[in-house]
């Protein structure tokens, strides 16, 4: 079946250092759509960025990710972490053709310290 793997449960960083959160996926879909959601404390998850185009960088709010179908990856990156980036990040997958199914990864908690 379809799955999304986020290998790190917790990432701790010092402010100013680069961020990289890993996301790999397995799917039968030939045209998968990948998403990153962010959930701050006591809030609901909200979309951070999304992509379905192979090898094209997608950016939003200082974060960026590139879908690589060859390696089934969609890693989230940021050049310089800020304290306000501390949150829970989810990678998710759906079929570009539509349907009800959206598969979320287990999430990575990012803690940024001064």
């Amino acid at each position: 079946g379809d799955s999304v793997t986020q290998t790190e449960g917790l990432v701790t960083l010092t402010e100013g250092l680069p961020v990289m959160l890993n996301c790999t996926y397995q799917t039968i879909y030939s045209n998968p759509f990948l998403f990153w959601y962010v959930q701050h404390l006591n809030e609901s998850p909200r979309l951070l960025l999304k992509s379905f185009t192979d090898n094209k960088r997608t950016e939003h709010q200082g974060f960026h990710a590139t879908l690589h179908k060859s390696s089934s990856s969609f890693h989230l990156q940021k050049s310089s972490a800020q304290l306000s980036d501390s949150a829970l990040y989810y990678c998710a997958l759906s079929d570009r053709a539509g349907g009800y199914k959206v598969v979320f990864g287990s999430g990575t908690r990012l803690l940024v310290s001064p």
Partner: protein, 114 residues
């Protein structure tokens, strides 16, 4: 504009008591609807989804049930709460037939079972 409203915002309930959580989505017809759960400090777990009125599919068994009595309404319930039901419950919706659209989450209900 589409809006999603969840109620109640928070609940404190006794073990063994019944529970009913609700969600309404306005502004879109026939959305895909979802219930998610997060244990405190935990990650998203999909409980149910529904693609049409009267049809609900269970993803995991947690002694909970869900119903979709109207196109814009999704209800989560149980007759007997367990301590393990405590957590954050999120209702979400998504446009059907378009894989590139995101899942939109409600503000959630925080449930404490004592």
């Amino acid at each position: 504009a589409q809006t999603i409203h969840q109620w109640p915002v928070a609940e404190i309930k006794a073990v063994g008591s019944p529970l009913s959580l609700g969600c309404t989505i306005k502004g879109k017809s026939s959305p895909n609807l979802y219930w998610y759960w997060q244990a405190t400090g935990g990650t998203l777990q999909q409980l149910f989804y529904s693609i049409t009125v009267g049809q609900v599919e269970s993803v995991v068994q947690l002694n909970l049930s869900a119903s979709r009595p109207k196109d814009d309404q999704f209800i989560l319930s149980t007759e007997k709460l367990l301590l393990s039901h405590s957590g954050f419950y999120l209702c979400a919706w998504r446009l059907p037939g378009q894989g590139n659209t995101e899942v939109f989450f409600g503000k959630g209900t925080r449930l404490t079972v004592v």
